[in-house]
């Protein structure tokens, strides 16, 4: 719980702590909730309420790569709905789901701030612009190839 100690002196520390936990462990584990409540002098219900309020916090670990796909208006104007359908088909995954092999989680989001170069996609925190179906497939194929190369070593 060094993460908690690191942030405990900040005011309103819960969000920074949750971000740090998720960064380290991939999700907010159920077991963390009573610990956080104890450390921050909150009720479990308070902590649970915060974790469940925000779209970003996940209760289970995501796939190896998190694909955030924008489905807000400026991206819609450039085919975001079709791109999301394409991604679901090409990865065989539902929105908010993870592929069977654990490689990709697909997260629809609202706006990545790249609305003049739409459709926009963010993969593992890296933003991509003007992503059509072909570019999407190339990006995901690259990541699979990288993963395979790593696994082979």
């Amino acid at each position: 719980m060094s993460i908690v100690a690191e942030h405990a002196r900040q005011r309103g520390a819960l969000l920074p702590i949750l971000h740090a936990l998720q960064e380290t462990f991939g999700c907010i584990d159920d077991a963390a909730i009573p610990l956080l409540a104890g450390a921050l002098n909150l009720s479990r219900a308070d902590v649970h309420g915060v974790v469940s309020f925000y779209h970003d916090f996940r209760r289970t670990r995501p796939g190896r790569h998190v694909v955030k796909m924008c489905r807000a208006e400026a991206c819609q104007a450039m085919g975001a709905d079709a791109l999301l359908d394409h991604a679901r088909r090409s990865l065989t995954v539902d929105a908010h789901g993870t592929t069977a092999d654990g490689a990709f989680s697909l997260e629809p989001v609202f706006c990545l701030g790249n609305c003049a170069l739409s459709p926009a996609v963010m993969i593992d925190g890296v933003l991509h612009g003007r992503v059509g179906p072909e570019r999407f497939d190339a990006l995901t194929a690259d990541l699979r190839a990288q993963d395979q190369a790593e696994d082979a070593r």
């Binding site: 005011r11 309103g12 520390a13 819960l14 969000l15 920074p16 949750l18 971000h19 921050l40 308070d46 309420g49 915060v50 309020f53 925000y54 779209h55 970003d56 916090f57 955030k68 807000a72 208006e73 400026a74 991206c75 819609q76 104007a77 450039m78 989001v109 609202f110 706006c111 990545l112 701030g113 790249n114 609305c115 003049a116 170069l117 739409s118 926009a120 963010m122 925190g125 890296v126 933003l127 991509h128 612009g129 003007r130």
Partner: protein, 529 residues
């Protein structure tokens, strides 16, 4: 005798990176070393001509010369063409500041964005940075507030509230502690100006917030960043560290006894946290539930203390006002809309990006003279101005002047200056459905009309799209909109009816599939069976 190194600028703005700017910078460095040509690569912000990204600039005696959009494969031919001295090349755009899109702008807030190295205090200083703060350090709080009030600056986050009036309330509040909070949640689709300022000129925001703190007597501040902007957050945190190192933040600002501490905090993917009271709740580590007003955040804000909450662009307008004076800023604009607004052209637009203009420019000018029409080459059918809660406007309203009052008179709003363009393949019933769906997903849940009404709205529009009892369901939808307008605590529920009603009003044919245009059935021209 040594030559000055040629400077090459390759943006590090997230939009530029999203189309390969890092690879271009690497290719330029590699090619230069292969040819034994020493040069200096500066990673600047973006000039805001996003369709030209990655836009590479070369500093020449005549000024900076632009090439775009550059791919790594173009780099050898750029060297062959002598781009280091501004030589001609098919990607050449001439002098950056002579590009028509750029030349006709009035860049006050974005003056340095894309020009300087965003993480160099020295560069910032050399381009007029911290002059406003130096002036403010020699003024009384009341004088600073008066200057901002006289400038006519109004909040750029959406509501357009006079910034000086808000500051004055905080200044006059008695408290042991006060805060300045910057709203960098920028959740509206079609907006990216906050992000670009933070990535391209972060010291400007730091300076603006410090001036606000001096004006109201605050000693600590927070920037509420959205989690969708990891690159901007990293840039801002880096800039904050540099500002501390060089004495522009902390215990003794610029050698005085004035104190201001600043920290960036990150949200967690909730649109409603852009609403200022929800943002404050979130900063306190709670669920982002909207608070009832009063009390105003200016009196009881963060941790119950008097708090200035301003948008990034409002705070970034402050340094130039304190540097050049209230009159200088107020002389731009029309009526009660003073100064400039960085408009953002987005969606299906040929030339998307930042257009900073004085208020009073028309939508038509922005869409055609700057934007060059759609990128698909098809006619523009609709634009949404002011984010997901903004109205959809048809071409008949494109002569609308961009100022707060002219828009309000049309039941529309300027919001954060985002303009999202759709061509004639758009189905407006689907856009109306999305507005309701967005509200259903992003509602904080406090008011029934917003939470339940939006879910019902989606269902009703689905029935309309399916052609069921269209007249009755349209009437029901209108009632639902009325209830949301009247019974919602904040603009989330209260303004979601704007895009819905404007879509019905101006594009009614899309809601009547029997008499509909091909687009209303979702069949696009060209993919008929």
């Amino acid at each position: 005798m040594s030559h000055r190194l040629t400077s090459i600028y390759v943006p590090r703005d997230a939009a530029a990176l999203s189309v390969g700017a890092d690879a271009v910078a690497a290719a330029i460095r590699a090619e230069a070393s292969r040819r034994g040509l020493p040069l200096r690569v500066v990673r600047n912000g973006s000039r805001g001509m996003l369709w030209l990204e990655p836009l590479v600039e070369v500093a020449t005696d005549a000024g900076r010369v632009a090439y775009g959009a550059v791919t790594p494969a173009d780099v050898p031919s750029l060297f062959d063409a002598g781009f280091l001295t501004g030589g001609p090349h098919p990607l050449g755009q001439g002098l950056t500041e002579e590009i028509p899109f750029f030349k006709k702008q009035e860049r006050l807030t974005f003056a340095r964005c894309g020009v300087i190295d965003p993480l160099s205090v020295e560069d910032y200083r050399a381009h007029g940075g911290f002059r406003g703060l130096e002036n403010a350090l020699a003024m009384t709080p009341a004088e600073i507030v008066a200057t901002v009030t006289e400038s006519g600056l109004r909040g750029r986050g959406g509501a357009g509230f006079p910034t000086g009036v808000k500051w004055n309330t905080v200044l006059n509040a008695e408290a042991d502690e006060k805060f300045v909070c910057c709203n960098a949640d920028e959740g509206d689709s079609g907006t990216f100006a906050d992000r670009m300022m933070i990535e391209g000129d972060p010291f400007c925001l730091i300076e603006g917030m410090t001036i606000a703190a001096l004006a109201v007597g605050a000693t600590a501040g927070y920037v509420y960043m959205r989690s969708e902007y990891p690159h901007a957050t990293e840039t801002l945190r880096h800039a904050i560290r540099l500002a501390y190192d060089e004495g522009w933040l902390g215990e003794n600002i610029h050698g005085t006894d004035r104190i201001f501490h600043l920290e960036a905090r990150v949200g967690a993917g909730a649109y409603i946290c852009g609403e200022e009271t929800a943002m404050l709740e979130s900063l306190e580590g709670k669920r982002g539930m909207v608070r009832a007003k009063p009390p105003l955040p200016a009196l009881q804000g963060l941790f119950g203390k008097p708090t200035v909450v301003n948008n990034v662009l409002s705070l970034c307008a402050v340094p130039i006002i304190l540097d050049r004076g209230a009159d200088y800023y107020r002389d731009f604009g029309v009526g009660r809309s003073r100064g400039t607004l960085p408009f953002q052209l987005a969606g299906n637009i040929r030339q998307g990006g930042i257009v900073e203009k004085a208020f009073g420019v028309t939508l038509h000018e922005l869409l055609y003279e700057y934007g060059g029409g759609t990128i698909s080459g098809r006619p523009i059918r609709a634009v949404q101005v002011g984010g997901p809660l903004g109205a959809y406007l048809p071409p008949a309203q494109f002569d609308l002047r961009k100022d707060y009052e002219a828009f309000a008179a049309q039941g529309a709003m300027l919001g954060h200056g985002g303009i999202v363009v759709f061509d004639d393949t758009v189905n407006m019933a689907r856009q109306a459905r999305f507005a309701m769906e967005f509200c259903a997903i992003e509602s904080c849940g406090k008011c029934t009309p917003c939470r339940i009404g939006s879910t019902r709205g989606v269902e009703v529009i689905d029935k309309i799209i399916a052609g069921q009892d269209v007249d009755d369901n349209l009437a029901l939808l209108d009632d639902l909109c009325e209830v949301m307008l009247d019974g919602s605590l904040c603009a989330m529920g209260g303004m979601t009816p704007f895009p819905v009603r404007s879509a019905i009003k101006h594009f009614g044919e899309d809601f009547r599939p029997t008499t509909a245009s091909p687009s209303a059935t979702g069949i696009r021209a060209g993919d008929a069976p």
